[in-house]
Structures are given as structure tokens and as C-alpha cells.
Symmetry: C2
Subunit: 390 residues, 2 copies
């Protein structure tokens, strides 16, 4: 829902509000609510059925994440991924949104502190030549680390959002393997909705048909993941997706189908023990695979850092050369003006512009290299620990 | 320790390495190790006495944070503060460092998972007119939230670093009040070192004397804070600071005095209960005070966002006007060249430069406004919760 750009935005926001009111969920996690005004409108409309809500602000535009809940939200925390695309890729607006994970801790019923995460990872713009894969893997890794570190005192962890990854992608396997989260679609006793649980389907009038050509059924990129931490068990009884147009309307709610899960949360007799330590032997392979991809991204970023640094140095040299020439002329070394003044000035401005841009790019790619390097290191640390474990 | 800039850097790094080897601490948290080469040198030197270490990479330059430990480091997580000064304040390099809090979880002895945090907050450059106070408060708040969310499964939380705040400052009171962390200096049974525990003292040959004129004894800005979470108790038996030159040398280790604490960690019979809920009635006042300061920063940021936006619009208008004039001339509306070509071009480049810079500033201040606003909101949520509690 981008203001002025998204089609039939207000109508759809109104429709979403009406449906949420009718359905009466316990917890609603929304993504891509880019306009804070839309959030405020929803908040007013939903005040009676969802008295508690929170909007996560971040980046230039906002995170687009918001939460509506029947139960009190005790606390919130926003973690912004350290890498999120490139500011100069204006047509892929991800950098400006400050993609993040929002953590509202809420207390459902009397006893269970629930940790729910609403999130969105970097979009995939071209599957064959996916330049953002390393960034998305860093995000998946940071997300997994964030969950591991924050979930320890919760009873149930619930994650919902647009992960922008196919179910078998390395990022999903990494996230699930390293946190032990289970996929509601795979675990659901009963399923109803689009085939294969797809949420980005060609039938939807807001999706880009050409993108979905290789996937005639659509793609499943929106997930509900969950796990129980302490003395609780969670079971997914039913999973549903919306299928096309909203009931009685000509348009769907959004370009993605919504995912709805009915979870059965039950207190067990004794604590289930440390469920965080995932002893999956395949985990090491997944981490290795992810680390390789991050390494590829690291080398590309190093290359870009080098190129932009070289460009900055060249621009600086040109400027110095021009300054020397100008000084020479002023000092009367050359009696005549050797260059036409106008082109001399234009060249100087051009060099200055290139210098500023290239320096900015160099700084940006330096940060990118640092974060990719750091993720590679962390993954290596985990691999070593996994191998040492019997 | 900034490469090429800091005085007698390599000598001091060598000295620090030697002393750490001799003293044989359990855990060492270092700040402002800006050069990764220095970290690598230290790592090699300390391999026998501190087999485990980690360097936290972030920002353009790095976080400067590193950890050396006698016990295995199980996991690490880096949280970058969402606000950290301004990229255009080149002389105050904070923005480029990506100030952050590093969390190495380690296991000391057999049972106690220890959460130690190494960190540095934004520097205070002018106490009377402290433009960075709102940023530092946002950092203190984010730090407190980060500790609350990550510490729940730890037995002991240990925080060490340069907080860049005086002991009675609102940021420190906020951090301590909201997390329940205790100040090792206040709790220590035995103290030895600079008077009042000061770590930035005028006697140190690397400090800026003029900055310390209002504080003849110095300032205490480096802290060791701690708390026990579960069935443990922590007591600070001894606190020491270094006092001036390293033993047998003419120079001190650094511009700040080092802080060393001997902590006695003991397992209790029964769990101490939820020590996170701090029922301090003064807490609401501290949060209110901090929220007021954040509000002041918010209004300043909004003003700057508005000014830069207006500047960008003006530059754009000038460019459009020039384009119209140029097109008019080309179309032959004016038969003669009305402006000298050179100044016309210069003006256009100037306008373009201003447009780019002002747009960048506008985006940056938009992010700043979002983060300050979000912190203000979170503080309000906490205040409401505090007031509802009996």
C-alpha cells in the first residue's frame, strides 16, 4: 500500500479493516503498510476488536510492519537488518524501507508470553541472476540469531511475514534449521486455499504475470512459522489462504494472498527441555551452503568497493591536475588561456560530482563488505561448534 | 587507536597485550580498537592466555569492539544503534564507526551462561550545548531494550564500556533503572584507583585538558555494570582503575583509564525470581525526563528535515527555471544569448549540487525523525505500563 502509487489503496485498506473486524483473529501481522495514515485509520476502525496495536517505524519510508492484537502488547523491539539492498537502486525501493523485524511481546490468556515476529526480507527481483541473495541470506541469518537470542524466555515463538523466498531456498532452510521453527503449512492438519499454499499467484490482478511465468501455480513466499520453547506444545490445526477477490468484491485484498493459521497451544506437564539446540545433521550442510553464497556476495562487494575507490582516486587526480593547470595560468606561466573556460569548468564540476558519488559508494560498499564478512565469520563459528558436537 | 592518527599507537597496543597476558583476567572487553590489524596482533599475542576472542565489525570503520576470553564464546550478536550522529559531522567521526553493542555469550566454568556486553555510546563533544544528547538517549534506550530482551536466559549479565555519560546523567539512570543493572563502582567492597573512580582524568597525557576544566578530578565515563538473572548472586569484591602511566613506562595505556572488577558469582538455593521487573517508583520520572529530551531532539530533527526539504525544492525550482530559460533560448524565443554561458553553467551545477546534498540530508533527517519518534512512542508505552502497575 504505497500512497499515490498502489492501485485502489484506500478501498483495499477499508476492505482489510472490515474483514479483520468480522473474522476476529487473536493476532494480526501486517506488512507493507507504508503509509502511517493507513495504520492510523485501521487502528481507529479496529479499536473495539483489536484494542492493542503497534506500528514499527524505520528507514526513510518506514518498515511497513504493524501488529494488531486482542491481547496486551507488553513490549516491542525493532531490529533493522544491517544489509538491505543498495540506496542507488531507486527502482528497487528496499533500502529506503529499512526492512526490519518487529518483536511485539504479548501475553495471550493468562500465562503464555508469546513472542511474535512480523517481518519482511529483501525482495527477489530476478531469480536467475539474484544479486540480492547474499543480502537476503545475511537477513535470514540475522533474523535467526535475533530469534535465538530473544526467544529464550518466551513460551511460544510465532513468526509471520513475507520472507521473499521459495520454501526450498537456502535462506528458509537456514532459518528453520538454525532456530527450530516449524512451517505451519507443512504441519497443518487441515489446509484450505490456493494450491500448494501459494501466496503469490498469477490469478491475482495486482501481481506481475511475467515474473510468475516459470511458476504457473504461483509461489509460496508468505509464511507462518512457530515453535514452543518451554513447557508448551503448539500444533497447527488449520491453515488457510485467501483465494483471489475478497468476498462479494471484484478485487483481492492485496497482491499477496493472506495466510491464516489456527494454532492449538497447550501447556505440557514437564518442560520440554532445550528445543533450541537443533541436532539436525543436515544443518551443517545448510550453513555451509549459505556461507558459500555469502562469500560470493562478499567478493562482489569487495570488487565494487575497489572499483568505486579507484574511480574516486581518478576523479581526485583529475581535480588536482585541473587545479594545478588553473594555478599555473593564474601565476602567468602560460601567457594565454590554454583551455576554453566553459569546458574547463564543466570538467571540474563533473570530476567533483564523480568524486562525491564514488566516495559515497566506496563508503557504502565498505560497510557492505564488513557486514558480509562478519556474517561469514559468525557462520564459520557456528560450523565449528556444530562439528565439535558429537 | 586510530591508524596513522593516534599517538604511539603500536607501542600502546603492545603494552596492553603484555599487561593482559601478565594479569590473566577471565574476560577482557576492549573499545576503540579501530584497526583490525591491531586486533589480529593482539589475538596472536594473547592466544595462550585468552584462547577465545571476537571482533565486531560494523559501520564504515568498524565498531572498535573486541572481546578476549578465557572461556569459550558460544555465540555473538551485534546490535547497531539506529541513530548515531550525523554523517556530515566529519570531525565527530561517530557516524562512521557504526557504534553498536556486541553480545558474546560465553560459558564461564561449567554452568553459568554469561552474557557480556561490550559497547560504546555516542561521544559528548560539548556538555553545555549537547546536540547529541537525544541520540545518546535513543542509544541508551535501545541498549536497555536489547538487554531486557536478550538477557532472559542468561545467569549473569555483564556490561562494560565507555558510556560517554556522567554517573548522574539521565541516560545512565534510564539504563540502570530500566534494566536493573548495578554499578560496580557503587557496589564495590574495596576500591583502588583514581579518585571517584574517574576514568577520563586531566593527568593523562592523551586527554584534552580544556574539556576537563570544569571537572578538575576528571569524569567517570567508563563503567562495569552487572546483574544476576536466575538463581545466581553477583557481588563486586574489588574495583580498580589504572592510574596514569603503565608500570615502568612513560605513557599510559590509553586516553581513558582501564576499569578492572573482581566479581564473586555464586549459585543460590532457589531462583531469585524475576529481577527484571524493577519496581523503582523513580523509574517513571527518569523515563519521563528522557522522553522530554528525546522530544526536544525530535523537534530539532523535524526542523532540519523541513529546512533541507525546502532547500531541495528551491534548488529544483532554480534548475527548472534554468532549463526553461535554456529551452527558450534554443527555441529562438530570445534572439540573443541573455546570460553569459559560463555563469549560467556554474549556476546550474551549483543548483544540482545543492539539490543532491539537500535531498540526501532530507532523507537522513527523515530517518532520524522516525527513530526519535519511535523511541518516544516506546517510552510512552512503558510509562503507561508503569502507571498501571500498582
Amino acid at each position: 500500500a504505497i500512497r499515490y502509487l498502489s492501485k485502489r489503496r484506500q478501498e483495499r485498506v477499508r476492505l482489510i479493516g472490515d474483514t479483520l473486524c468480522q473474522e476476529g483473529f487473536d493476532l494480526v501481522l501486517l506488512q507493507e503498510v507504508w503509509s502511517e495514515q493507513d495504520y492510523s485509520d485501521l487502528k481507529v476502525k479496529l479499536a473495539s476488536c483489536y484494542p492493542f496495536s503497534h506500528y514499527f517505524r524505520s528507514g526513510v519510508i518506514g518498515s511497513g510492519l504493524c501488529v494488531f492484537s486482542r491481547f496486551p502488547i507488553l513490549d516491542t523491539l525493532l531490529y533493522q537488518y544491517s544489509l538491505n539492498g543498495y540506496p542507488y537502486m531507486l527502482q528497487h525501493g528496499d533500502w529506503f524501507c529499512g526492512k526490519s523485524v518487529g518483536l511485539p511481546g504479548s501475553r495471550a490468556g493468562v500465562t503464555a508470553p508469546l513472542l511474535s515476529l512480523s517481518l519482511q526480507l529483501h525482495a527477489e527481483y530476478c531469480r536467475d541472476k539474484d544479486a540480492y541473495l547474499p543480502h537476503r541470506l545475511v537477513q535470514a541469518w540475522e533474523l535467526a540469531q535475533f530469534i535465538r537470542h530473544t526467544s529464550k524466555a518466551a513460551d511460544v515463538v510465532l513468526l509471520g511475514g513475507d520472507l521473499n523466498m521459495h520454501p526450498e531456498d537456502v535462506g528458509i532452510r537456514l532459518l528453520r534449521g538454525w532456530t527450530g521453527l516449524r512451517d505451519a503449512f507443512a504441519e497443518a492438519t487441515h489446509f484450505e486455499g490456493c494450491k500448494n499454499g501459494c501466496t503469490l499467484v498469477p490469478d491475482n490482478c495486482f501481481t506481475d504475470k511475467s515474473e510468475l511465468l516459470p511458476f504457473p501455480l504461483g509461489i509460496r513466499i508468505d509464511y507462518i512459522l512457530y515453535k514452543a520453547i518451554s513447557s508448551f506444545t503448539v500444533k497447527c490445526e488449520e491453515l488457510k489462504t485467501t483465494t483471489g477477490p475478497a468476498p462479494g468484491m471484484a478485487i483481492p485484498f492485496s497482491d499477496h494472498e493472506a495466510v491464516m493459521a489456527t494454532l492449538h497451544i497447550q501447556r505440557q506437564g514437564q518442560p520440554a527441555g532445550a528445543t533450541l539446540g537443533t541436532a539436525d545433521p543436515a544443518l551443517a550442510d545448510v550453513v555451509t551452503e549459505a556461507r558459500t553464497e555469502v562469500g560470493v556476495g562478499l567478493r562482489a562487494a569487495q570488487q565494487q568497493r575497489y572499483s568505486s575507490g579507484r574511480m574516486a582516486v581518478l576523479a581526485l587526480l583529475l581535480l588536482l591536475l585541473q587545479a594545478a593547470a588553473a594555478l599555473g595560468t593564474l601565476a602567468g606561466l602560460g601567457t594565454e588561456q590554454p583551455f576554453p573556460k566553459l569546458s574547463f569548468c564543466l570538467l571540474a564540476f563533473l570530476a567533483l560530482g564523480v568524486l562525491v558519488l564514488a566516495t559515497g559508494l566506496h563508503l557504502f560498499h565498505t560497510m557492505e563488505v564488513k557486514m558480509l564478512h562478519s556474517t561469514e565469520d559468525q557462520m564459520w563459528m557456528v560450523l565449528r561448534a556444530l562439528q565439535e558436537r558429537p
